[in-house]
Amino acid sequence: MNGQGERIEVNSDQDVVRVRQLVRTVAVAVKLSLVDQTKLVTAASELARNTLVYGGGGTVEVTKVDNGRKPGIRIVFADQGPGIADLDMAFTDGYTTGNGLGLGLSGARRLVDEFDIVTAPGEGTSITVTKWCR
């Protein structure tokens, strides 16, 4: 059972706030625990901001999913930006090409259950994360 996803265009800081609010609403709806809600919202906030800052804007799609045993949430962050040339480097704690802490991407991966990234230089980046109910 895959529900219809909700889509948000991310083009400003306000949109990142909207993504957070949407993710929180859906997380409450699928009855994620408070800790998992907070982790997922934080991961979404990091990745949505990456989409905005490094991807030059893009879309975020939030979908309720179910693997037959438990429900969960899947979020897809997609942008048409410059892409990531060196993934190993990008996943190193403390490495950043901007002026952040360099923990967003690697930290977000630790905050979710499944993390999938498709990227190539010049071809944009698409990140799919999933969090399952315990």
Binding site: D13, V17, R20, R24, L34, V35, Q37, T38, K39, V41, T42, S45, E46, R49, D93, G100, L101, L103, G104, S106, G107, A108, R110, L111
Partner: protein
């Protein structure tokens, strides 16, 4: 289709001769739409002023609303939209005051008759439409100003710095901490530290729903700035879910003291202050 000078003059006469009847019909028409939210007398006053402005504009040979002679009319219309916007009327309820003018004119036009009446009316109608559009535009502008003002007020309101104890100030953060707010928080905190001469500051994040790297970075910068000024900073209000998220993200607060609640932070600070006093003796 712009008014010709001749038509404008004819209408100016018409508005002058039938002024009372016109204002009465106009006011009745608008009063029904607004359903008593503005008094009849108030509407009548606004409409007679507007009628006068229309009359003067047309008498001055205004062919479009942008003309020099329509300056007074434009000022009146801006006034009308800004009052209505501030009183909470919708854009329709504001524009109707101008549109209803056409109906009122039609009423007095019928009585005076005339072969070119229809043609005249259509050209006047275009002029009034222009006025209505202008009104809507100024309405939107005023509402945007209102929203911007409120956003600014909210920013001020949502970042208080309070004195908690002698020598201890606290910043209770509530809601989203974006760059603009972080900047305000930092400025306020540093200024309050100077003003009160406090050696301790507590930043309470109980009301911050999610602490991501950006929020953490803003808080860390504020702490470093406060330290540079010689104040000790404590972060309080770290709830269990926030603590777990911060650990997973890999954010390190280093040697900055953190506490679960504001009460704990205050107790900690008072203890430290006590120690410092004992050492001085």
């Amino acid at each position: 289709m712009a008014l010709t000078a001749e038509e404008a003059a004819r209408f100016a006469d018409l508005l002058e001769v039938n002024s009372d009847a016109l204002v009465a019909t106009w006011t009745d028409r608008v009063a029904t739409t607004l359903r008593g939210r503005l008094s009849h007398a108030e509407l009548q006053r606004q409409h007679s002023e507007l009628r006068k402005a229309f009359q003067q504009a047309l008498a001055g040979g205004a062919q479009t609303l942008a003309d020099e002679s329509a300056a007074e009319l434009r000022a009146q219309l801006s006034d009308l939209s800004s009052t209505r916007a501030r009183q909470g009327f919708s854009v329709t309820e504001t524009a109707v005051s101008v549109f209803a003018f056409k109906e009122a004119v039609l009423g007095v036009l019928d009585q005076s008759g005339g072969g070119d009446a229809l043609r005249d009316y259509v050209t006047l109608s275009a002029f009034v439409d222009e006025a209505a559009l202008f009104t809507s535009d100024s309405y939107v502008r005023v509402r945007e100003e209102l929203i911007a003002d409120q956003a600014e007020q909210l920013l001020e309101l949502s970042t208080p710095v309070v004195k908690l104890w002698e020598g201890v100030v606290a910043v209770p953060l509530v809601g989203t901490l974006d760059s603009a707010r972080a900047q305000v928080v930092m400025e306020r905190l540093l200024q309050t530290l100077v003003d009160t001469g406090s050696p301790y500051a507590i930043i309470d994040i109980t009301g911050v729903p999610a602490v991501d790297t950006q929020v953490a970075q803003h808080i860390l910068k504020t702490v470093v700035a406060a330290r540079l000024m010689g104040a000790d900073c404590i972060i309080s209000g770290i709830r269990p879910q926030i603590a777990q998220t911060i650990v997973a993200l890999g954010i390190e607060f280093g040697d900055i003291a953190t506490k679960a609640s504001l009460a704990d932070a205050l107790r900690y600070v008072l203890g430290k202050a006590g120690q410092a006093k004992r050492l001085e003796r």
